[in-house]
Structure formats: structure tokens, C-alpha cells
Assembly symmetry: C2
Homo-oligomer: 396 residues x 2
């Protein structure tokens, strides 16, 4: 028996473990100092009431003979798919029910979708990038090319006719940079994909943080996208589902390669290797899309967005360049005084006990940049920014 | 962009859709007749009280700031892994916590485990077989060889030194045949695997139905298995979790191929492509392993086993040959009067309105056999067997 040797080509990521070690070491040396973590990529507010009520009701149903549910459809229950359909409709995107697949999260489906795609395809990822796009393709042995995101292009790279790729990952609002593509920019990617017979894998996990109505929340707001793109979305950051696990993937029926509908292949993949999201969780997810649910999650998102504003206001005052923060929970800032990412990490930790994430951990173009997130508490975010302002003389 | 062309080699299974069509057609022609479905592969009893209470409590926790949980460990929470560890200990199997991976079900992990195994491996599946073993390997382009299960070997094939395979699927108690390997038989498979450097993928999804204490519930009851086998288990049939989704996969630390620990590869796969089982569901699963939970699920399993006994008693009276039913929810019978599987299906449907599953749908060796299950209600099972007995003159 041989293992899948592609796994041997994976690089270990020491990003978060190194962050953890440095923080632990600092605490050991300075037990009296209060650390504030603004590197956290997880939500902190609890699930909203409407969701809790729905899940409790569903749990009760599972305990009674007459309302018990066994195997559900692998693609998700129609009650939830219909809710997602209506949600898209608000952004003028018409989807058929059969194009909507309920999943246990964007990360799972972003990895699993590769099952139905040939290993000989060349993959394009942006740099800096969410590491999962890279690792899942290394596992399958695909060739990877990089599309450079830099200060010059606002960390939003555009298609280059000299770089061909069969599979293109786009994430907007972006993790880690928080940058968001405009409709005009996305149209160029869609045109490139159609011209080159490429498939776009569009990660829209942070779409709920977009408040600028001119910015697209779905790639299907762009003409032609239904012939070249699969979209992945998640309730993790939208509704605090990181520990509850529910998302959805859109595979348009018009998406065809090699004269085969990807929708049909994906159904086959899912029915063979998956059994769907728990009924209880699907009822919770359905509640997110109700009027009450939308109002409640909006309050939570606004809370995080206010944190982001507190951070960007501070960066504005200090004259520090950044992307994100306006339509995203992430703020991606340029390290002051030409510090590299880890130098700035040490500087912040030692001087003001703030922990963030070194940008270099997300790719070579991340060097010299730094990620802060808005998922902390209001109190901690305010205190962190006060401390930050205290560094004014040293960093501007 | 090219699709994964291996998908084009998949055969469409018409088994359950044909069953559905035939039944619908019959009902249309005979609207007054009462159909009894004994083909059902899903549980019908609701979740037990201890599980419901645990999930309601966990749901409450998710709604409060101080007890909310975001991302959990991909491998599952230690509270559940510890519960699984103790469960194995009862069968004299010692597992380390790091060898236990909580999953959303055996089907998912049986498919996903292939990610870490080379595509050049030859796979051995038994015939008849749970179709997922075959389809997941066709998707990856692996060569498949079959190990024949027939009346002669009691539908429990044994290793054949003339047939080499790198990956071997064993399912015991078996789906669809209900046959169960003895320790002596499993030892031969373990010895074969060690000698041939093969990996056994052991599907123990129905282990909870084993009441004969001499039969192994886990392959790790066999010496040497920890160097050649991964075990998959599920709470689907054990505790009625088909719509709640939780299982576990055991990857021993001693399992090494190409000088690489499979445990390490599997952690890498899961952390990259998976985010774990919902916290609420893990609390429900934990409750299954408590003393109260075990007593409650035992009642349900006993209910199904009593149904199975009602079926096998009838087959005994009629002198019909079968496997399963004693330590399994499935009964696999030889069609009387040399009928083939679909002939017997039509015969049962038309004569006594009982629906079962034609064995030919599970592979060539299934031809001439038929699967009944014990997941129906007591009332329906009793009535079905009464009708069956009415056929005495025609089928013996």
C-alpha cells in the first residue's frame, strides 16, 4: 500500500503555532501584563435567539416518533435551500433550487469540490492567500501559479493574459486582506475565465460584511458568471456558526466543462461521500434567513463592523496604509517604519501587548503587512487602539 | 478546465429508483392495498431522551456569551473522544485519544480516507457490497478487484493468496448480507494484510447489533490489526443518528506505510478540508456513551433485533436459507423457487405487498438473493411475516 505522496510536498505552517509560542513566552516573562488578542479569526458573540429557538424546537422534534427525521437529502432540505434562494433573490440573483447545495461549511466544500476536477488542471491562487486553497491542491498534485496582490493593486490582482490557469480562486471580501472586488473588476475575471475556459471558485464567506451597496455580494451579480463560477458561502462569520457548521455552495446548471454539467458531478460526489448537514443545524440555519434572524445577525455583524471602524479610524489618524475594515472583518495594514511582519508582531507584543497575525504567514506578498480582526470585544478593541495611539511617536 | 474523467466511469445505480418506480406503479394500480416496506435502510425510532436533553443543554450554551463555542478541534472535542475511548475499553481495546477522530458519519470518512492513499493502489471489495466502496474508488481511478461472497462461504469471503490487493474493505456485520466475521476469520485477513503490506478499511457501522459475545465488535480485538487497519464506526444505526450525523474513525498511531504514519496524514487532511462535527451534536453523541444513554439505545436496538427475529423465525419455518438477522439488522435470504432477485421482488409486491431490496443491486453475487431489514415498526413486521407465511404453499 502506498500513501498519496503529494502529501509529502505540503509545507508545515508554523504561523499560528509560532504566534502561540511567542505569546506564551511573553506571558511567562510578564505575568502582570494584559494581552489583547486582535489576531482572532473566530467569532465571539453567541448564536442569536431566533437560531437557538429553532434548534431547540428541532431537537424536540428529533425526540418524538411522529416528527423524528432520519437520513435527509444530501443536498440539504428544501426549506433551507428555499431560504438561500430567497436570500440571493434580494441581490437580484436568481437561482434554481437544484443549484443550491447545503454544506457543513465553505472550507469543506472548497476542498471537496476538487474531487470532481481533473488533477492535470493548473490552479491560480492569489498571494497572499487563505492557506487552504494551496494545500488542498498540493494534496491532489496540481500545479499552482500565483497572482500577485500588492499595495500597487490594492491587494486585488487582476487577470493577466500571460498567466493561464484552469481553476482560479477568488475570495472577496478577502481573507486575509479584507479587500473587496468591484463589479467592474469581477467582470474582468469572469471575461478572462470564459475566454480561457477556466473555472472560478468564488469564496464569498465574508459577503455579509459588505455594506457598500455598489459592491457585489455574489459573483452571480456579474453577467456570465453562471457559465464559469462556483460560489461558496458560509454562515460561520455571517451568523456565528463556526462551531455549529453550516454553509452553502452554488453550482449553476449552466456550468459545463468537457460537455459535462458540474452540477451533476457534484450531486454524484455528495451523494457518494456525504450525508448532509444535521437536521437540527439546518433548522437553525433556516432561522438565520427569517426576518427576525436577519435583524439579529445584523446587530452582531454591526458590532464587529464598529470594532473594525475603531481600528481603521486609529490607522487613519496614524497615517498607516491598510486595506479592508470597511466591508470586511479583517484589516490588513502596512507595517510602519519598514518593519517586516514578525518585527512588527514583536514590536506590538512587547510595547503594547497587542497580538495580531504576521502577513508573511499568508504568502510572500504578505511580508511587511499585518492582519488585525474585528472579532474581539468592544472593550478590548477600544483599549488596544488606545494603546496603539500611544505608539504615535514611534510609528509615524 | 477539465473535469475528473474518472467520474465518467461511474455506473448509475437504478436500484432504489427502480424499486420506487415499481412501488409507485403498483400503488397506482392498486390504491386500496396496504404496502409494507421492509427494504428500508434507515432507522425509525426517535433519538433517546438522554441525547435530546444533552443537545438541548448544548444549544442553550451556544446562545450565551459565557458558554458559546466557536471553532472546535477538527478531530472532535476531548469529552467525546474520551467517551469513545472508554467504549472501546469495554471490548478490551486500548486506544490513545489521538487515534480517535470524530466524524460526521462513516460514509463521509470511508470516502475521504482515500485522499491520503495513492491512486495506484489496487482495491479489493467484496461482492455483494455497499456501493460506496466501489464508487469512491472509481472516482479516484483505482483498480478494483472483487472477493466473492457466496452461499458456499456464508457470504464471508476469506483471503486468497492469488488475489493481491493494497486496500481491502471489510464490513462486519455486513451490509447488505448481515453476515459477521468470527475472530478466527478476521485474524486470517489481518495476517494476509500484514504479509502483503495491505491496508484494511474496516466498516464497523453495525457493531452495536452484535450480541454474540464471541464475535468481534472491533477489528482491534484481533492481534496485529493496529498495524494494518483503520476502523470506521457510526452512531447512525447505533443511536438513530442518521439525521443527526456523528461517527468516529480510528487511525492507530502504529499504522505506517512508506515510512509515514497514516494518523499524521489524516490529521493533515482533516484540518485542511474539514471543520469538525457541530458542538451540539458532539454533546448528543457524548450522551449516547453515558450509562443512561447506553441503556436507552440498547432498548431501541433490542426492538429492531426483535423485528429481525420475527423475520428469521418465519424464514426458518419456511425453510428459506439466509444470512444475518442474528447480529445484524439485515436479513439476506435466498429467493425461493430459483427466482432471481427482481422476480422475487415482483412476486412479493404483487402477492403480499411487501417491499424489499433485490440483492442483484449489490453486485453479481447478489443475484438470486434479497435483503429485508428490521428497521420497520413491530406491527408492520408482524403483519408482513404473517402475509409471508400465507405464501407457504407457493414458496417451499
Amino acid at each position: 500500500m502506498n500513501i498519496n505522496k503529494n502529501y509529502l510536498n505540503l509545507e508545515e505552517s508554523y504561523l499560528f503555532s509560532t504566534v502561540g509560542k511567542k505569546v506564551a513566552e511573553y506571558i511567562k516573562q510578564n505575568p502582570d501584563k494584559k494581552i489583547i488578542k486582535l489576531g482572532i479569526g473566530d467569532v465571539t458573540l453567541p448564536l442569536c435567539k431566533t437560531v437557538i429557538d429553532a434548534m431547540k424546537k428541532a431537537t424536540e422534534e428529533m425526540g418524538k416518533q411522529e416528527t423524528f427525521r432520519g437520513y435527509g437529502p444530501e443536498q440539504g432540505y428544501d426549506f433551507l435551500r428555499t431560504a438561500v434562494q430567497k436570500y440571493y433573490k434580494k441581490n437580484q440573483v436568481d437561482l434554481k433550487l437544484d443549484e443550491i447545495f447545503i454544506s457543513d461549511g465553505a472550507k469543506s466544500d472548497l476542498g471537496n469540490i476538487l474531487d470532481i476536477l481533473g488533477v492535470e488542471n493548473t490552479v491560480m491562487v492569489q498571494d497572499p492567500v487563505y492557506p487552504v486553497y494551496v494545500d488542498t491542491n498540493i494534496m491532489a498534485g496540481r500545479k499552482i501559479v500565483y497572482s500577485d496582490c500588492t499595495e500597487t493593486n490594492g491587494f486585488l490582482s487582476m487577470p493577466d493574459e500571460n498567466i493561464k490557469a484552469d481553476i482560479i480562486y477568488l475570495c472577496s471580501p478577502n481573507n486575509p486582506t479584507g479587500a473587496v472586488y468591484s463589479k467592474e473588476q469581477l467582470k474582468k475575471w469572469v471575461d478572462y475565465a470564459i475566454k480561457n475556459n477556466s473555472l472560478i471558485l468564488y469564496d464569498a464567506a465574508y459577503e455579509a460584511f459588505i455594506s457598500d451597496t455598489k459592491l457585489p455580494k455574489s459573483i452571480y451579480e456579474i453577467d456570465g458568471a453562471k457559465t464559469c463560477a462556483i460560489e461558496f458561502c458560509s454562515l460561520s462569520k455571517t451568523a456565528g456558526f463556526t462551531g455549529t457548521r453550516c454553509g452553502y455552495t452554488i453550482v449553476p446548471e449552466t456550468l459545463e466543462f468537457d460537455n459535462v454539467k458540474l452540477n451533476k458531478l457534484w450531486i454524484r460526489r455528495q451523494t457518494t461521500k456525504y450525508n448532509g448537514v444535521p437536521y437540527i443545524v439546518q433548522r437553525g440555519a433556516e432561522a438565520v434567513f427569517t426576518q427576525e434572524g436577519q435583524a439579529e445577525i445584523r446587530k452582531n455583524i454591526d458590532y464587529y463592523k464598529e470594532n473594525a471602524k475603531i481600528i481603521t479610524d486609529t490607522l487613519d489618524k496614524l497615517g498607516i496604509w491598510y486595506t479592508g475594515g470597511k466591508n470586511s472583518p479583517y484589516i490588513w495594514l502596512k507595517c510602519p517604519n519598514n518593519m517586516n511582519s514578525w518585527e512588527f508582531f514583536d514590536f506590538l507584543l512587547n510595547r503594547v501587548q497587542i497580538v495580531g497575525t504576521p502577513g508573511s504567514g499568508f504568502g510572500k506578498n504578505g511580508e511587511g503587512y499585518f492582519r488585525l480582526t474585528s472579532f474581539g470585544s468592544r472593550e478590548n478593541t477600544l483599549e488596544a487602539m488606545e494603546r496603539f495611539m500611544g505608539l504615535r511617536k514611534d510609528i509615524s
